[in-house]
């Protein structure tokens, strides 16, 4: 017979209208420790038509991805993002926290006010505070809904983020230029920190 706590966690997550953190589940179940139950449930649903997944620290049940072709036809109400919005979303996700000026520096064009609004309305981008530099610009980041929507357990799962970081493609142009000219390309990232020294020796 299945454990009572596991059943309770299963019922709670099935009934929930939004993904829940373990703390929220625990609070709902009068403080029970739910970590093991979550692991047991995730294992149980592995390979079934419905799966238990963790997205940005929140858990929810969803249909298995390989069944998309069966389920998709009825649900085509998903809004298509414009190219600009897609690009801005990618920049926010891979660079967060990021200011509008930084987004514009990468894209080389002004970002229409509406573009960020659309992403915030979709619930994927949020204001993440202000950068403590002159002008205190607003900075943006992604939301747990963003991770849930794109099936990412955390930002580390962003496709190709490790390669992009290793290639220095997430660094600003000036930093990348400094590290490129300082030393050979192989360990350019590591040398980025001490350009002066290399400049002297050159």
């Amino acid at each position: 017979m299945i454990d009572d706590l596991v059943r309770a966690v299963e019922a709670t997550l099935f009934a929930a209208e939004a993904p829940m953190t373990p703390e929220e589940i625990s609070r709902h179940l009068n403080g029970a420790a739910v970590k093991d139950a979550l692991a047991e449930l995730a294992a149980h649903y592995q390979g079934r038509g419905v799966e238990l997944v963790e997205r940005g620290g929140r858990w929810h049940f969803q249909t298995a991805a390989d069944l998309a072709h069966l389920l998709r036809r009825e649900k085509e109400d998903l809004r298509r993002l414009t190219r600009a919005a897609t690009e801005v979303l990618a920049i926010v996700a891979y660079h967060e926290p990021v200011s509008r000026a930084e987004i514009e520096a990468i894209r080389g064009v002004q970002t229409a006010k509406g573009t960020l609004d659309v992403l915030m309305e979709a619930g994927w981008v949020r204001v993440a505070g202000r950068r403590e530099v002159p002008g205190r610009p607003t900075i943006y980041g992604t939301t747990p809904e963003f991770l849930a929507h794109f099936g990412l357990e955390s930002r580390r799962d962003l496709p190709g983020i490790d390669e992009l970081r290793a290639a220095g493609l997430l660094d600003p142009v000036d930093d990348a230029y400094a590290s490129l000219t300082a030393e050979g390309p192989a360990d350019s990232a590591a040398n980025g920190a001490r350009p002066e020294k290399d400049g002297e020796s050159a």
Partner: protein
């Protein structure tokens, strides 16, 4: 390499002339005029057409392609946004720097400018690709679905009110204290009325033989008496003196400002 670039541009040119008939890749390029997200976007697409890694693109070739594109757009009188023209001017300037003999003093060097442009294109390209990969993922609500009709978890909040007996009794005490009927007691104030001053001054005036200081007419008051009574007696007696003078029963004289006020019965 430069020659190749020129060749490519010419090819594009040829295609462009024949746009009415064939929708080739290059023709499509020109038709998408409104589709570019700014000059960097256009440059990135042109760079991609070099079909090499973005790290190995030829900047000179790219510049030629861009300038060629802008020229043709202008000759067709297509309206170009200002930033495309600004970029064209900058690229033409960069090209001249790259081709002319070097000025070793120049900072930043044309090579640095070219490399930085290349780095910018790489970054934009990386983000464009990342966006595409993101969009291709199994997306919630398109490819995978959460429960269609969740029962929902409801937490009904209830208030449990707290109050202790002392607070209760104290509150009642305050209500009672606040709303107890208020009785106003008007206390008798120590004053000498005008009437009593008038009768006193006029009776004493008859006894006085000569000029007499007004203060002599005041009732004798002890040190313990209320000073307000003293003031009141003086004020009332002064008004009484004025009244008597007005009635022609008394004369008033004062030899200097703030000096003693002298009084005598009218002759």
């Amino acid at each position: 390499m430069d020659g190749e670039g020129a060749q490519l541009a010419f090819d594009a040119d040829a295609e462009w002339d024949g746009i009415g008939s064939g929708a080739t890749e290059d023709a499509a390029l020109y038709l998408e005029l409104d589709g570019w997200e700014g000059p960097l976007d256009l440059l990135l697409d042109l760079a991609r057409r070099q079909k090499v890694d973005l790290r190995r693109i030829s900047i000179l070739e790219l510049v030629d392609q861009y300038l060629g594109y802008i020229e043709r757009a202008e000759s067709l009188r297509l309206e170009l946004a200002a930033d495309y023209l600004v970029m064209a001017a900058w690229l033409a300037w960069l090209k001249s720097l790259l081709l002319l003999p070097r000025d070793p003093e120049m900072q930043p060097s044309p090579e640095e400018l070219a490399l930085k442009l290349q780095l910018r294109l790489q970054r934009l390209g990386a983000m464009r690709e990342a966006g595409a990969r993101l969009m291709a993922r199994d997306r919630l609500g398109r490819d995978v679905f959460s429960r269609g009709a969740p029962e929902g978890l409801r937490v009904d909040r209830r208030n449990r009110w707290h109050c202790d007996l002392f607070d209760l009794i104290q509150a009642y005490g305050q209500v009672k204290a606040r709303t107890a009927p208020v009785v106003h007691m008007v206390r008798e104030r120590p004053v000498m009325t005008l009437e009593s001053a008038l009768s006193r001054v006029s009776s004493l005036l008859g006894l006085a033989l000569d000029w007499t200081d007004l203060r002599q007419f005041l009732p004798v008051l002890s040190r313990d008496d209320d000073p307000r009574l003293v003031k009141s007696a003086l004020a009332s007696s002064f008004v009484a003196a004025l009244e008597l003078a007005k009635q022609g029963k008394a004369d008033i004289a004062q030899s200097e400002t703030f000096g003693p006020l002298m009084l005598r019965a009218a002759k």
